[in-house]
Amino acid sequence: MANNNAPLLEMRNIKKAFFGNQVLTDINLTLAEGEVLGLCGENGAGKSTLMKILFGMDVIRDTGGYEGDILINGEKVTFNTPFDALAAGIGMVHQEFSLIPGFTATENILLNREPKKKNVISEVFGDRLDTLDYNVMTGRAEAAIDKMGFHIDKNMVISEMPVGHKQFTEIARELSKDQLKILILDEPTAVLTEKEAEALLASIRSMSEKGIAVIFITHRLHEILAVCDRVVVMRDGYVVSDEPAANTTVNEISSRMVGRAVETTAKSEIRDKSDAKTIMSIRRLWVDMPGEIVRDVSLDIKEGEILGIGGLAGQGKLGIPNGIMGLYEAGGTVEFDGAKIPLNSPRKCLDASLAFVSEDRRGVGLLLDESLEWNVAFPAMQVQNKFLKNYLGGFVKWRDEKSIREVTERYIDELAIKCTGSKQKAKELSGGNQQKVCLAKAFALEPKFLFVSEPTRGIDVGAKSLVLEALRKFNRESGVTVVMISSELEELRSICDRIAIISGGKVAGILPASKPSEEFGMLMVSMVK
């Protein structure tokens, strides 16, 4: 050891930008042996990026690396791959499981680190033909499970396990590594039952007693207070607070997570539309959208308003438009303009003059291999028979290239889409311009009601305000009711009249956009599942 006084881990002045977008600024962080550090912040605050840097993930290097230093025991280290980080004693349990479904817990715990025995054949053909030493494997797996302090069946096949046990298998895998000094847990309790979550907290405590430092990322703030020594709150790529857990409260943390100096575009006036008629009424909606499950949502939307839907990632806010528009299986009732909308049928929604701009631009929003003309005109052509010429008494519906070009060019002008022309392929545009094409596609439908999901995700600041301005204009000038779903609370507050916060697949509350962000922050973490 170079220096006994140096902390186990120190991160100094870490900076990171993605394509000129500053996502981390001057992050300083220390971690002592056996310390449990709670890390919280809204989605996009930079927690995951910071952990990716620490874990040496490829995506960091592929996007130009980072600035600043990482020191372990006072010595500077650089991790080019996760394997370097593993060798230095850092283990990470990701949100997505990284387990082989047909293997037992033991086999997964020791995946690619199996103890082996030499034999005659392997002497000749190399060590990949060593046989596995099952006895030693069992022993090591047992030891790791004991260390964790939560019992799982080491012989059970992963695909037959309850989801919580899979999470524990992952943790046991990290613990089975002898060199492990720091364990990063990225929202580990999201998939656990209440009992299992408690067991996990207990096991974190026992790990810390054994000298392992833990970085614990979660949205369940009471868990942080229950188990952590120190709490770090991040917002917009900065560390906004770093203090002992004993000195803070859930309220304080949540308000720090969302509270920020508002620097976004000029706020629009907030209108009170409570007297307007209810244009859409949602009752007991459930949606099976993986990762964004909606459990029981009831919501009334007033004609002409802009309603924001916010909440933390994974809490179900994205499931609402996707379920209503028929992209994921859904149940419950939705009434629009006095008539019931059948669920699970995109066509019926579109026929009823609803439109949807998906958060998944590349997957759902665009025909990447086709021209802008096709992208803009396609839904209107299919649903409303626009941009078609009829021959033989309507038997032949011929694509009207001229009117398609006209409408596309009109939107290119109106939304200031940067492109070489209406014939350019959608995949060649930048993210912000692609988003504008998605909006143009929805506008071309001339809907009465528009769902916009994460309209500013992954686009630069300039494009952001243009997109928001276009939406506001669409709402004000055409009187279209807009429901905007976004992870960025400030963005919602800058454009919406009311904001509903979704937590745990349910509506945690609806507030006028003028309320201070702390109140929204409280709602966001209120029912987190």
Partner: protein
């Protein structure tokens, strides 16, 4: 209550083993109609087991590593054929000839297998159709070598196997001096049934090898790669290399298998022996109850017995029923293809299940909550 459980068990057993059971049924109907004696039948089946099992076992390793049915095993068969042609030109007969042919086939198989593996790594997710097309592509190269280069570039001395024009190999190459030399060594006759003990011993050794191989590090890696490539990669396993090794092993084993197969037949149909071999081996394996992602040694043995029983009795039974011998011939070809088709469809539909269960749970959860209120 107990009856219900056993009934359910039987039902799920039937559903899980529908293909083998269907073949048992076909055989049960066709055997009496065909009028073959049991002695003859058993003799034939034992012969065919010795002839085919090694080849079919070659398919197990790519299935283990998640690359599906290796239609590219034809490549190994080609390697085996080229080796045998060379050996028979050198006039090395009997057991030494067989052993030498196997040894010569190894470098050719490794080369072809590595090529095949490389291409399959470029076509992940559609390995089967690609390996199927590779077998056609390689057939072209094989013809180039055997029909044009042998005798002109690759020295071939003996006129018995060369075409009269001076280069290229004849349509059939006789292996008369090598015929069944493995099968006859140590052969035992039990009430008229000839059992090729040595061949079965070799097969037994291969089975042991496969069982052992599953327990090696490489075998474990292959299973991991087969189930989830990304997880395996994250754990530090070299996925691409593991997949190539798996195809190379399969190709080498198929080369050995082809040598065993041809020494039993006693001659090489130079331009057609290999072309159907992949299809028949795959069909036999599937008949034994294997699927695209799961196959065991038991499947191989059961498959060979059922498939070849059907193969032997179908033409005769067809002729007895319809009076036309061709019907049975076509029937067995149809059945071979149909079995593969059904297995592929079952595999693909299974991959797409599991959905909507989640949705039902959500609805249930709401109803539960209502009850509590």
């Amino acid at each position: 209550m107990k009856n219900k459980i056993t009934a359910g068990k039987i039902l799920s057993f039937v559903r899980d083993n529908s293909v083998p059971l269907m073949f048992v049924l076909i055989c049960a109907v066709c055997i009496p109609i065909s009028g073959f004696s049991w002695g003859y039948l058993i003799n034939e089946i034992v012969t065919r087991m010795g002839r085919n099992i090694f080849l079919i076992l070659a398919l197990l390793i790519p299935i283990m590593s998640g690359m599906g049915l290796n239609f590219g095993m034809t490549l190994g068969a080609m390697a085996g054929e080229i080796a045998l042609i060379l050996v028979s030109d050198w006039q090395i007969w009997g057991i030494p000839g067989v052993v030498l042919a196997m040894i010569i086939s190894i470098p050719i198989s490794v080369l072809l297998g590595a090529f095949c593996g490389k291409i399959l790594n470029m076509a992940k997710g559609r390995e089967m159709i690609t390996s199927y097309i590779i077998s056609f592509f390689m057939n072209g190269i094989y013809q180039l070598i055997v029909l044009y280069m042998m005798g002109s570039i690759i020295p071939i001395k003996h006129f018995s196997i060369k075409l009269p024009r001076g280069y290229g190999i004849r349509n059939t190459v006789s292996l008369l001096n090598m015929r069944q030399c493995l099968d006859n060594l140590l052969a035992v006759r039990i009430s008229g049934v000839k059992i090729p003990v040595l061949t079965f011993l070799i097969i037994g050794v291969l089975c042991l090898f496969i069982v052992w191989f599953r327990k090696t590090k490489l075998g474990q890696d292959m299973r991991a790669v087969g189930q989830d490539m990304n997880v395996a990669r994250d754990a530090g396993i070299n996925v691409e290399r593991t997949r190539i090794i798996s195809i190379v092993m399969s190709t080498v084993l198929a080369g050995f298998g082809m040598v065993i197969y041809l020494q039993n037949m006693g001659n090489i149909a130079t331009y057609s022996s290999h072309s159907q071999i992949g299809m028949f081996c795959i069909a036999a394996l599937l008949v034994g109850g294997a699927s695209v992602d799961k196959a065991s040694i038991g499947n191989v043995f059961l498959g060979v017995i059922l498939f070849h029983t059907m193969f032997i009795v179908a033409p005769k039974a067809g002729a007895e029923i319809t009076g036309d011998s061709m019907i049975g011939e076509y029937f067995r070809v149809f059945v071979s293809y149909a079995v593969i088709t059904v297995a592929l469809i079952m595999y693909e539909t299974k991959k797409r299940k599991h959905k909507s269960q989640n949705a039902q749970q959500l609805q249930l959860a709401q109803e539960e909550a209502d009850k509590h209120e």
